[in-house]
Symmetry: C2
């Protein structure tokens, strides 16, 4: 048990650590070489060009910039909320509000608790006399444990529990109302986007002698005659996507070798085809990759042909578009078919939010998947120690020596051996915790959610259960989750709050240290971005071959909501549980919230680039988790007081959870529809405004390709990009063009002259271009012939007149 | 503890009792005097006229009819399901299916259980050796208790648990699918009715300077421009309804005295105005009532004027009608407003299903009401013994003697005293159980549901909790619910299934007796209709003055779903719990289901007249209660086996509840939407068919008065009836009319001549008629002036040209 002094030392070390991190950050962030690690969002938003701040120089030599190590703070705070929403989207802005909500809740609570409860607790002064068998620290003098059992002082704690609960609920209500308003406002002021007019229809029944698109068309023409516009079939393009990815990789290598050759025209790059270039036939790299790409192109073309023509490649899912937001809102919120497992309609997620792989799961399979995954999550939360213990028992030194006898001499070295013996057992656990979010994400994917945002929300909720049981309860009851489960079954329910209640004040110092190590240091690590920094520079050294690669190596990612939300919710839980019990913990939480707020504000402005925009769809979850924390805090207090011989507390405390539950239900019915449904009033208003401002808008063409599988889009973009690159290259290599003698139209013709070869590449690209166009033209005609009524589903080059 | 012989005796007595009841019924039902008690539905359906089977004779003298005492059975079975739906509605037909479902589930289960489990249990033969301290009956030799602990025979019980669960789930699935289909078919083949086009809108916001109807009109014209037709405001007519009721009562008395006077023209009826005609001024009854009626008429008129003109009488609720089922389905299923607590839309219940008093409850109040009522139900279920014990402690003999000393001589008589002492303590409990359904119904009303059908469903679910805790658990654990609750908190959760599991086989004989007494005798009582029989004849003797009164005294009522569903569900629970444990209980349940099926089929055909039609909306509840019963049976078996040292059973049994829960979730998502939503496909199809068959239908006039407060309808009917009566009387009293000399047009003019007076009544009535018409005309014009656009809300005499 830590005394106040121990805690002070720990705090000092952690503050020092955070300070060092901040200093490091201050130094690293102004190095131009790190610019893409610390400001990727600005690059993406186009606010910073590739040659910003003399990117040619790798190191910043301007000394005076080194002294302003907190200079990022004002910059982070300067942006208003509106600008922030504009810059990074509503998700990010609302994510930040979780931190301010924490501050809003806990600052007044802390002030009241420190002013009222600490004096009460300190003057209690009976703890040491009464229980000599338990070790108590100085912290306990400030906590509720210091009050003598049966004392009337507990009335003050009870009162405070009421005050804190009401205050929290009040703030929660305010915040829910604000966020709901922000969401509606955001949706209302959003520019026209495809998802406003689109509904995703799943489980389309197969009608024999009809194609899926015909079935959909007929169904919606019949049941939504006034507003139905069109539909976009979903193709099972997974194999196609794989091929395109493969081609991309090859193209990259080709680019690399061509650049290399350009720099050293005296030597054509060669290599071996076998594994990692170690074995196999020696070939000319440029020729080799070109040949492989052309071969892939043919396969891609035939695969695309298959996808477009094989009725089996069309999935029983469709994106149905309407001519007004009203029509889409109606279709998304109503039941279509007599059989409620068919024609399931829902709002289409944003195109970039769609998780394409899950679209085709049938209803029955979905219900089984959900069931199995919920069992799996339960098992994971409560029994995750079993496989880890198993791995640990395998992964001992003897096992390793048996499997890999050649390592024996190394292992037998004494230092290595002791290190490994200390390290190995923990390794499995560390590894497990590291991959846990990924595992949970995979589980959510198996469950069959069709949008990335819902996948992240589901992952967050699974992770929360894990943290709640294994971090919070696990630390308090000090046992594995499995032991907790066992005691839950074999102890009377009235015993459980007592067990928790008694242990809670004793674990206060542990959680203070936890907040410092996990919270403070975690945030400092967050701003320093150690992992992305290292990865970026590693990539830069080994993998990056072209400017495009560098851009890709930048990869700012989104805020990892799946991990961050649960840990934030854990801090709320700690704050609420300890507010009455050991109020001295609150300052630690407040420091965390304030610091994290600053850091995340900076990161959101400069680093993260949200993959999708869900318009704060995660807020109801945050809200209900905080409510759950309130309830847990009531149960704890209940158990604690019942061991403190404060019998009168039972009837007084019972109303608190009841009122909280009622409050939650009220909020749910009051605000949650704003996050699940789209009011017709809103839709109609927006339709009307749009109609007034753009009466001649052709929605059909606007929506035509919105929900194309991204892989087709990507392909299209690449084509365009290639075109652009070619033009640039032509400008650059004009002098080379003069030397160009032969003009070849045959694609597979052998070329030996380097210049001609280089030039040939342009040609081939152009030919590709032509070929593509020709092919599209053909396919379009074909599609047209297949179904006269339905519009062509794929238009690859909107700019090109067919 | 009962032996098999005891049980046999009990069964014999009960069967004899039922037989006697059936004989009595056979005798009573063919007495013409009881015709209106046993065949009211036929009167209402118009299949039987008032003078059926020589109703003039009170007693049936045709002896041969007495010998066919089961002759009602074929009649009850003859009707096909389609005819039944046509005759009594879908609710009744589906209600009967619950009984057949019981038979379908339990007949095969019984056969298998008797063939497999009984031999296994009997040959176990170890019970009496092992536990000598517990009293066991012969029944236990047939039950699972007879198998020696740790025996491998429990595998057979486990297997049977799986088989029974799968069979039950299979039947449940079949039945849910059937009922859902029947519901959709019923709705699809239903004739055009107002509720198909109407949506109830609650929580309409008050807009200053707009009347509610204008607000509604504007809102729906804006947001549903293509389908909105009109709206019907809801008036707070509670006071008006009271006045009308009062007038009705007075009118009845007037009729009575006039008839009396007609029969004995020599003596004008007189009486006193004070309490019960004992004191007060002596008056001429006909004059007195006539004066009071005319006074009431003025008050009614002014009240109606107030209701129609006072904007405060218009409630923030409206019935909004659409020009198509599609439009109504869309509006009912979507969210209208940005504020999810305003403009709440839902399907309008049938006009006769509306519970008018609850329409105006605002959203916030609703959420508080629900919360308070759920606490109250919890308290009622677990603590209902407390007030009863309190009443019991008050209602002792000393208390009565103190309050009413004049009863002392009577009470002190020894026989009376001992009777009272034995009777009084139970009285409070009996009284409580008698009024319990009413109390629960009042609670549901306070909760704020707006349709009678949902009120009944809510009552049923409350009653089910009460029965589950106080009848099922209460009998098994043998303690008050409060004690159960206490042990639930202070025993480990793993102990609870054990406690129940151990007690379950021991209570088998109790439940067999319960099934006979409550089930068999209850059903026999149901067919005999003792209470309605007595009440009808009492009314006939004392209250009935006119034919209209007799019709009203008939009052067949609806099936009391609020009480019947929970007790049926209790039988399912008993059957499922005991199927594996003590299969000998199953025949009792099967007899109950078969007998009850016959009786209710007869009653539904001949007696009950459903007040509303909810199209089997109660089925999802029945389904989930049976699922809950399955789960309870698993828990019981789990606890039982864990005390039987059958440790291997734990992992084998755990899948059963999990699979059941999954099955429930699947069924819920598969079928429940059919009971909650109206698919657009269906709506569109019906719209289209109707449009094809009746292209020139004027829906607006059809829907104009559909959702008028019933009190206005009633009034209108009365007016028409009065008109009819007057015409008849004029015919009858033509010879009297000859004597009529003076013709009076003043309404309040004093008249002394009986004949003239009698005749005057006709005049006044006609004048009323005229007055009303005039008044309506006036009001209509006024309403018209108030809002030019909105159509007049009240048209009282559609037949009269204004």
């Amino acid at each position: 048990m830590a005394t106040l002094q121990d805690l002070g030392v720990s705090a000092f070390i952690n503050i020092l650590g955070a300070f060092v991190f901040l200093l490091l950050f201050a130094v690293l962030r102004i190095q131009p070489i790190n610019d893409r690690v610390y400001f990727p969002k600005l690059y993406i938003a186009g606010k910073r060009a590739a040659d910003h701040r003399g990117a040619r120089r790798a190191i910043n030599l301007n000394l005076c910039t080194y002294f302003k190590f907190l200079s990022w703070v004002p910059g982070a705070l300067r942006m208003t909320q509106t600008e922030l929403i504009h810059h990074a989207g509503l998700d990010s802005a609302v994510y930040l509000r979780i931190y301010t909500l924490g501050l809003k809740i806990f600052l007044p609570v802390m002030v009241v608790a420190l002013l009222v409860l600490i004096p009460v607790n300190v003057s209690g002064g009976t703890l040491l006399n009464l229980r000599k068998d338990v070790m108590f620290s100085d912290i306990d003098k400030l906590s509720i444990s210091n009050v003598s059992p049966g004392s009337n002082r507990f009335f003050i704690h009870l009162l405070m529990a009421y005050v804190f609960t009401f205050w929290t609920c009040f703030m929660l209500y305010q915040e829910y109302s604000n966020v709901a308003f922000m969401r509606l406002h955001f949706l209302a002021s959003q520019k026209r986007c495809a998802d406003q007019f689109t509904v995703i229809v799943r489980n389309i029944p197969r009608v024999s002698s009809h194609s899926t698109s015909e079935t959909v068309d007929e169904f919606f023409r019949r049941n939504h005659p006034d507003h139905y516009l069109g539909q976009q079939s979903v193709y099972n393009a997974n194999r196609y996507a794989k091929l395109v990815k493969q081609k991309e990789r090859l193209q990259n290598w080709l680019d690399y070798y061509q650049l290399k050759f350009e720099r050293h025209p005296e030597k054509r790059p060669t290599g071996r085809t076998g594994c990692f270039g170690f074995c196999g036939r020696k070939v000319d790299q440029i020729d080799y990759y070109r040949a492989r790409i052309s071969e892939l192109d043919k396969r891609i073309a035939s695969e695309r042909h298959r996808v477009l023509n094989d009725p089996k490649a069309v999935m029983p899912v469709s994106f149905v578009t309407f001519d007004s937001r009203w029509g889409a809102a109606v279709c998304a919120q109503t039941q279509q078919s007599k059989n409620p497992t068919q024609w399931l309609t829902n709002w289409a997620p944003e195109p970039r939010d769609v998780y394409w792989q899950n679209l085709a799961i049938p209803f029955f399979s979905l219900s089984i998947r959900k069931f199995l995954i919920s069992i799996a999550v339960f098992a994971l939360v409560f029994f995750y120690m079993i496989p880890i213990a198993f791995v640990q028992s395998l992964a001992n030194l003897e096992g390793i020596e048996r499997v890999a006898p050649f390592l024996r001499p190394v292992i037998e070295v004494k230092v290595v051996k002791s290190f490994l013996q200390g390290f190995l057992p923990g390794l499995a656990l560390k590894l497990f915790l590291y991959i846990l979010p990924t595992v949970l994400m995979i589980m959510s994917k198996v469950e069959g959610y069709v949008s990335l945002s819902s996948l992240e929300r589901r992952t967050a909720s699974k992770y929360y259960y894990f943290m709640l049981v294994n971090v919070f309860l696990g630390s308090i009851i000090a046992g594995t989750a499995f032991e907790q489960l066992d005691s839950f079954f074999h102890d009377p329910p009235s015993q459980i709050p007592r067990t928790i209640g008694v242990a809670v004040p004793m674990k206060a110092t542990f959680f203070m240290t936890y907040i410092m190590v996990d919270g403070w240091a975690g945030i400092a690590n967050e701003i320093l971005r150690v992992k992305p920094l290292v990865i970026y520079h590693l990539k830069n050294m080994f993998i990056v071959k072209t400017e495009r690669d560098r851009e890709r190596a930048m990869d700012p990612r989104s805020i990892a909501l799946g991990e961050n939300l649960p840990s934030l919710q854990l801090y709320f839980l700690l704050g609420l549980v300890y507010a009455v019990v050991t109020p001295i913990l609150l300052p630690f939480i407040i420091v965390f919230f304030a610091f994290a707020y600053l850091v995340y504000r900076h990161q959101i402005i400069n680093v993260y680039n949200q993959e999708y925009e869900s318009a704060a769809a995660f807020w109801p979850q945050v809200h209900s988790r905080i409510i759950a924390s309130l309830l847990i805090s009531h149960v704890t207090l209940f158990g604690l007081l019942s061991t403190m011989k404060a019998a009168y507390s039972t009837p007084l405390l019972i109303f608190l959870p009841l009122l909280t539950i009622w409050f939650h239900k009220y909020c749910k019915s009051r605000f949650e529809p704003a996050f699940r449904k789209y009011p017709l009033e809103e839709a109609m208003e927006k339709d009307r405004m749009e109609h007034a401002s753009e009466p001649s808008l052709n929605l059909k063409t606007y929506l035509a390709n919105a929900y194309l599988h991204p892989i087709f889009h990507m392909f299209e973009q690449e084509d365009q990009k290639e075109e652009a690159t070619i033009e640039v290259r032509i400008d650059k290599s004009e002098h080379q063009q003069q030397q160009h003698v032969r003009s070849s139209h045959s694609q597979y013709e052998e070329e030996t002259s380097a210049q001609t070869h280089y030039h040939h590449e342009e040609r081939t690209s152009s030919q590709y271009q032509y070929q593509y166009q020709h092919q599209y033209q053909y396919q379009l005609e074909e599609t047209h012939m297949r179904s006269e009524q339905s519009p062509p589903h794929f238009v690859y080059h909107p700019g090109v007149d067919h």
